[in-house]
């Protein structure tokens, strides 16, 4: 394994920043700060995705996670509240117990996971490599992610497009079409 790679220090830095932003989100009560920090978190994730060779995912995370979701959360926050109430002590300890138990279970499962960065691990050795070799013959486009997304897995992507469409339908049913016609005429309830 090739550990002597300078980019790993960049990874450590990004992980440290992710953890700092995560704890800050837990501590803060001002929702505006929380929403903006979520955008920062997404952007840091996108940076780490680039370092992990997932350029398509990084692109999507930067555009969707840091862009659109921040805008949507700001819009929702504008319509709802500015501050969140602090958690009660009982609730804090109950949540802490659940998190500690779940975290310990996940930690216990780490030795069963594939080794980080190993090309021969079961997760990477078979199917992924197979698609890398088949794409030049079957589809002949360089970006394997696009090839798998649009062709090999086209049926799935169709389903996901329908999911996105259905989500817009749900939002429009809940909030109206946003044409501005029904401004304040909901006084009857």
């Amino acid at each position: 394994m090739n550990h002597a790679d300078l980019t790993q220090y960049l990874d450590y830095l990004l992980i440290a920043m992710l953890l700092a932003v995560g704890f800050a989100i837990v501590r803060l009560r001002n929702l505006f700060a929380v929403v903006m920090l979520t955008g920062v978190y997404s952007l840091l994730c996108a940076a780490w995705f680039v370092s992990l060779d997932a350029v398509d995912v990084a692109f999507t995370e930067a555009a969707v996670g840091a862009g659109i979701s921040t805008v949507l959360m700001l819009g929702a926050m504008l319509l709802t509240a500015r501050e969140s109430e602090p958690a009660g002590a009982g609730r804090h300890w109950a949540a802490f117990a659940v998190v500690a138990a779940a975290g310990a279970a996940l930690f216990f499962a780490i030795p069963d996971m594939p080794v980080y960065g190993d090309a021969e691990s079961p997760a990477n050795a078979y199917l992924g490599r197979d698609f890398m070799e088949r794409t030049p013959q079957d589809i002949q486009i360089p970006n394997v992610v696009t090839a798998v997304l649009a062709s090999y897995r086209g049926y799935d992507t169709f389903g996901e497009t329908v999911v996105v469409f259905t989500a817009a339908l749900g939002v429009m049913l809940l909030l109206g079409f946003g044409s501005g016609a029904r401004r304040k005429d909901e006084e009857e309830d």
Binding site: L19, L31, G117, M132, N143, L174, E186
Partner: protein, 172 residues
Amino acid sequence: MLEILAERFNYIPIIILMMIGLYVVIATGNLVKRLVGLSLFQTSVFLLYITIGKVFGGGPPIIVDDGHHGEDAGHGAEAAASHGAETADHAAAATDHAAEAADHAVDAAHQAAEVLYSNPLPHVLILTAIVVGVATLAVGLALVVRIREAYGTIEDDALNAADYSLESGSAE
């Protein structure tokens, strides 16, 4: 044990990040912040998948073609082979070409096999999951906005209290 963990150190911060998201979901009563926690959890799961697909020394899964030579040779082989089947006259010459081109294609394939790439399959999964995630987040936020309009609050203790008082009010 320590060595096993050191080989898999990437999972440790990701589990901590996941647990931060889970804590926010359970411990906060504010529905917007709870959705923020949910998206933290979601992004940590994305990180988990992508780190599994990482290969040290590998590149992004975009195939590097050393010039278009290898591809063209591949096409040449196929086209020449089909021509050879069609026209008996040029059969000999065509098969010569085909053999030569096939050699090139094999060379190119050999070169391509030595280049390491990260696993593209987790990338595809997570790519669509991100977009579906923002769509479901939007639906959740729309529900929160409607709850705010109906109850005047988005703290779940106050929502519970309002529901109970509504029930006791209708019972009278």
